[in-house]
Amino acid sequence: FADVEETLKRIQSQKGVQGVIIVNSEGIPIKTTLDNTSTVQYAGLIQQLVLMARSTVRELDPQNDLTFLRVRSKKNEIMIAPDKDYFLIVIQNPSA
């Protein structure tokens, strides 16, 4: 439990990180550093994106699987690390 906290703290303290969210497979945000509305929005939208990305990768090659997803936008980068039951979302603005 403490390790999880430490990991998250370490991630948060990296340069440019704007927010960290942990979402479970049902789309419920377990841990978040952003406000509730944004969290709910990110969780809902990103879950759909991850499902699509994962199914794309698996269709192209059924032996393959999604390991990481990065969405680069003008203002920041959303990084998603998916797992079987959870996914970790980090929003970072590297030039900030």
Binding site: F1, D3, V4, T7, L8, R10, I11, Q14, K15, G16, V17, I22, N24, E26, G27, I28, I30, K31, T37, V40, Q41, G44, S55, E59, T67, F68, R70, R72, E77, M79, A81, D83, K84, D85, Y86, F87, L88, V90, Q92, P94, S95
Partner: protein
Amino acid sequence: RLLSDLFLTKKSELNRNGATNTVGLEFISHGMNHVEGGWPKDIDHENMEQTIRFRKKAGKNEAYISSILQLGSVMELCIRQNNAIDKYEQYFEDEEEEEENHNAPYAKTMNVLRDPHQVKRTVTSLSWSPDRGRKLAAAYSSVVFQQTSQLSTDSYIWDIEKPSIPEMVLKPPSPLVCLEYNPRVSYTLMGGCYNGQVAYWDTRRGCQTVAYSSVEHSHKDPVYKVIWLQSKTGTDAFSASTDGQVLWWDVRKLSEPTERLILDLSKEGNLGGALGGISLEFEITMPTKFMVGTEEGLIISCNRKAKTPAEKIVCTYDGHRGSVYAVQRNPFLPKNFLTVGDWCARIWSEDIKESSIINTKNGVSELMDACWSPVRPSVFFTVKMNGVLDIWDILFNQSDPTLSVKVCDGGLYSIRVEENGRLVACGSEKGEATLLEISSGLSVPQKNEKSLMFERETKREKILMGRQREIRLKERCRSEQSREEEVVREDGEESPQELLARAEKDFYSMVEVELKRRRKGKDLIEV
């Protein structure tokens, strides 16, 4: 779903070498309501305590801890990568791309805005909204004489990004023949109706007209053109119609026009003998002057500030063999104006009243509308009854259009260029407004254009003036010889012999000047 995806991929393989024709899709954009979901049934997500407890419990889950630790390390790596080097850096951001002007000019159709009604009406007028042209107002009416009331009276404002459905419907008392955005107040519009009334809209207030003029005091014929004037209150406009009148309006009180001018050349204000106005011209830099193009082919130049109505009509230009459908001054060189009618387009210089300084060759079909490019002084656009849009660049080629594009099958009735010079909208008789994007070669201003135009124009003018003088001289001589008796000779008028002598002197001096110039030129080259 997986199965259908597979099927689609197979199908696309088959079609790889062919083209597919897609059916138009209609898109409607609307917002999405995000609601929290996924919570197990026994937990009410509004209840803070329950959610916090759930979260704490989830946090203690074994699987959770292990997966987060693993994900965390992966994530950290990527974050550090981002911080170490900006992969997406834009190199050479400040350098501009080299202009590739060697490509042929093109006009690409971006979108076609179709009349949603079953019975299609002609797009008789178009107007871009002044706030960088995100919207296009189009007036729809029937130009066929007495085609009756099965036609809807609606006209539309389109958002050019959403071509499937108009942004706003305007409901005038009778179909609109012309429609203009107020260039200063971007949410107000003025339209002229088929029955002679003018109507005023405020888009903030919805689609019904805010006000319209009373039938008794309006025009008795369709209002073919309405233009907003430059005034402090931003509420003045004027309109022209084939009933022979030009009326000025203040939109705050549309029940009566504020001023009236009858296009009677005999200057008697006789409505019966008046010419029918079918196009208007007004340039903000010259607020007291305006020009009216008439059905009879004449262009009348008027001065609004003249004291008596007789003096308001300053002069006329004998333009075309048919209705003058458009008159517009060149935005860079306001002394020159463009007119279209019958089968050609003519460019005039204000001072030379006898004839135009440049004419295009007579085309195959009638020209219905024209306008100058707002960014390039030498470029103008014309549309024809055979559905062709011509783009002319008179510094490049004066005998033929630089680019000719067949926009649609029916006739094109109206054209408007957007302020940035890149987008052109043209309206057809089948109710389609086509938006085209012009290549940069025709829409990016070149460096010395304005001065080049000016040089050639002034030289041309001088030559023409000289020629006019000759013609006048010849005529006067002829009339002198045929009539022995002089009726009244005004003071200062020269006798024919004196005229001849002066003309000869002028001619020789002109030739000498030219020779001297050539010699000087040769000397310079030799040196």
